[in-house]
């Protein structure tokens, strides 16, 4: 980045930022010579007032990954042509509203898929082999005083049901195959390039799996997809891993199933109402809880930042977007 040169920000393309994404200071320090960031959250006036005064000509919006991009916001941005979100998740964006207004959407593509898959596998091993529970047991000084510690469950041979065979699901499958697990899946569409057995019905997938790994995005179709029927089909020995979004699972039902022993255990990185986690889970040794850290490594945040900026640059130079979300 050049020093000592003051860029006339009126010449730079404007990018509206309603709420700052993670490490926004890095966007500022690295890219303020390329874009003029319109920082709505810094203004003392209400958002709609700020936007009508300042954002009538804004063509691009950089999302923080959480603040809803819906009709209430889009209505105030008549010139908007592009929404860029640094997240892989799209559930905070009303995609059909964007589509009908001719607003393109770009996300982080698959940059986070390895990190999220790693955490899914880490949670799965932890639940089956009781790693966090063992760590607690040792630190409570129980090893010397007790003769035995409850046995875990072998990974090899376990039937894994992946819900959503997108980039994350594919990386989860690749990893768990190396542990000797067998893979089946349910997805919006069958993926002909993969030979894993496909189930068009998630209850059937669950009935034929020892573990379900939720890797899909949250949409109207996947909201509460994992309901009581699916959980009971998974069964008393079954394990549930969620690295997608909390609302894909009927959380109240899941908690009840865990407390009553209707399913065997769970590893959860996401919840319906983050950062709130159902307290009943805190008493359970067969549950491993993670505070939505799947994609949160420095490497992935950097990649997310780079691809978000890459999409903005492409847009402003009339080039094809790097990771446009195509509504299908």
């Amino acid at each position: 980045m050049a020093h000592g040169i003051i860029y006339n920000h009126l010449d730079l393309p404007q990018v509206l930022v309603v709420r700052p994404p993670d490490s926004f200071s890095l966007y500022q320090s690295q890219y303020s010579h390329k874009f003029h960031f319109l920082k709505a959250w810094e203004s003392p006036v209400p958002l709609d007032q700020f936007l009508s005064t300042n954002a009538r000509n804004v063509q691009a919006l950089l999302s923080c990954g959480r603040f809803p991009i819906n009709v209430d916001l889009l209505r105030l941005l008549p010139s908007l042509r592009l929404v860029v979100t640094p997240s892989a998740g799209l559930n905070h964006i009303d995609l059909s509203e964007c589509h009908s207004r001719g607003v393109a959407v770009a996300n982080a593509g698959s940059v986070a898929c390895c990190d999220v898959a790693d955490l899914a596998v880490g949670l799965f091993i932890d639940v089956l082999r009781k790693i966090s529970a063992a760590d607690r047991y040792v630190m409570q000084g129980l090893w010397a005083s007790k003769t035995s510690y409850p046995l875990g469950s072998k990974l090899k041979g376990k039937r894994i049901g992946i819900v959503g065979l997108g980039s994350i699901g594919q990386e989860v499958a690749k990893r768990l195959e190396a542990f000797g697990c067998s893979i089946s899946y349910n997805s919006r569409n069958q993926k002909k390039s993969f030979s894993y057995p496909f189930y068009s019905n998630v209850v059937e997938l669950s009935a034929n799996s020892d573990a379900l790994v939720i890797c899909c995005g949250l949409s109207d179709q996947t909201h509460r997809l994992i309901n009581k029927e699916v959980l009971l089909a998974l069964g008393k020995e079954g394990v549930l891993i969620n690295v997608g979004r909390g609302a894909i699972i009927d959380e109240k039902e899941m908690v009840q199933c865990l407390v009553q022993g209707d399913i065997g255990g769970a590893g959860l990185d996401v919840f319906e109402n983050e950062p709130n986690v159902p307290k009943e889970l805190f008493a359970l040794d067969n549950v491993v809880l993670s505070p939505h850290r799947g994609a949160f490594t420095p490497e992935t945040l950097t990649s997310m930042r780079e691809i978000a900026v890459g999409n903005l640059e492409a847009f402003f130079s009339n080039k094809p977007l790097l990771s446009q979300v195509i509504d299908d």
Partner: protein
């Protein structure tokens, strides 16, 4: 075969105990309050020992049992058995290889992920109700980390195969190079430690490998490096490991074994970059039963004068 007396050295498996009771005259070492009492009643009848990682068959025990024919270990590790003495006296020894390879490799991977991605620390963070106060920090990326394996035997190879699926480049130090693998070989453990980010101890414990991970190796691994031990506690100079972790000279550790089990250095408790397990590498329902079955099959084969299934001596 219930006239054959078999000694079980410690409570290791209810399933195994019941199987032994059904087939043999079972003597349980831990039910005797004194050694003299035990030897007085049993020294001339015991023909087989079933030992484990806690109590095996040392010279004293072997010498005091003149009718001993076979030691069948409920473990793959042989460090608690005086193999030379067994060889001298023509006593057979069997262990439980292969059946536990996958489970131990799985724990090694689980420990790596738990340390690098702070899985246990994050679980603690949530359970303590800290998440509403602010997000947990970033954790390091695991995929692609360089993994160095000490001992590329059955377990080491199984670990390598799993780590490869995460895009981790694999290197190793072993007694001999294995050209049939594509992994990078280092002829000494220091070079291996310098060139990897995660060092996994997966070799057998022998005189040569005692404290194979010492201060020099820990320094070579460095403040960003992570040490995983699923071998034996005595592979690592434990006091050196503890001070390196406390002083930040080592980046993290995942341990399933310790020099003086069940004692675990309390200074390690609560370190967010350390994960501690109570020697449960092979402790799954499926594998413990398979290990027990193998012990029984070896004993039966021996007393029926058939070939042993998994002989070591």
């Amino acid at each position: 075969m219930d006239s054959i007396t078999v000694l079980m050295t410690s409570p290791m498996s209810d399933y195994l105990e019941n199987q032994l009771k059904d087939r043999f005259n079972l003597v349980k070492l831990w039910t005797y309050s004194s050694k003299t009492d035990f030897f007085k009643h049993n020294s001339h009848s015991i023909r087989a020992i079933v030992g484990n990682t806690k109590i095996g068959a040392d010279a004293e025990l072997i010498d005091s049992l003149p009718e001993l024919e076979i030691v069948s270990s409920y473990s793959v590790g042989l460090d608690k058995i005086d193999l030379r003495k067994c060889q001298e006296k023509g006593i057979r020894v069997t262990n439980t290889p292969d059946v536990l390879t996958d489970d131990v490799a799985d724990v090694a991977m689980g420990l790596m992920l738990a340390v690098v991605r702070r899985v246990c620390e994050c679980d603690r963070f949530v359970r303590r109700g800290l998440w509403p106060k602010g997000d947990f920090r970033l954790t390091n990326k695991f995929s692609g980390m360089q993994v160095g394996i000490v001992g590329l035997g059955r377990i080491g190879s199984a670990i390598a195969k799993r780590a490869e699926a995460f895009g981790c480049p694999i290197s190793y130090y072993s007694r001999s190079e294995k050209p049939e693998t594509n992994y990078k070989y280092f002829s000494n453990i220091i070079d291996l430690a310098v060139n990897c980010q995660i060092l996994v101890v997966a070799c057998a414990l022998t005189e040569e490998t005692h404290h194979i991970v010492n201060r020099e190796v820990i320094d070579a691994l460095g403040p960003e490096g992570i040490l995983i031990n699923i071998g034996r506690g005595s592979h690592i100079d434990e006091p050196e490991l503890v001070s390196a972790l406390l002083e930040g000279r080592l980046g993290g550790a995942g341990l399933d074994v310790y020099e003086n089990e069940p004692e675990v250095p309390e200074q390690l408790f609560g370190l967010e970059n350390v994960v501690l397990m109570p020697h449960v590498g092979s402790d799954t329902v499926e594998t413990t039963d398979a290990m027990a079955d193998l012990v029984i099959k070896n004993l039966e084969a021996h007393f029926l004068k058939k070939p042993l299934l998994t002989p070591v001596v």
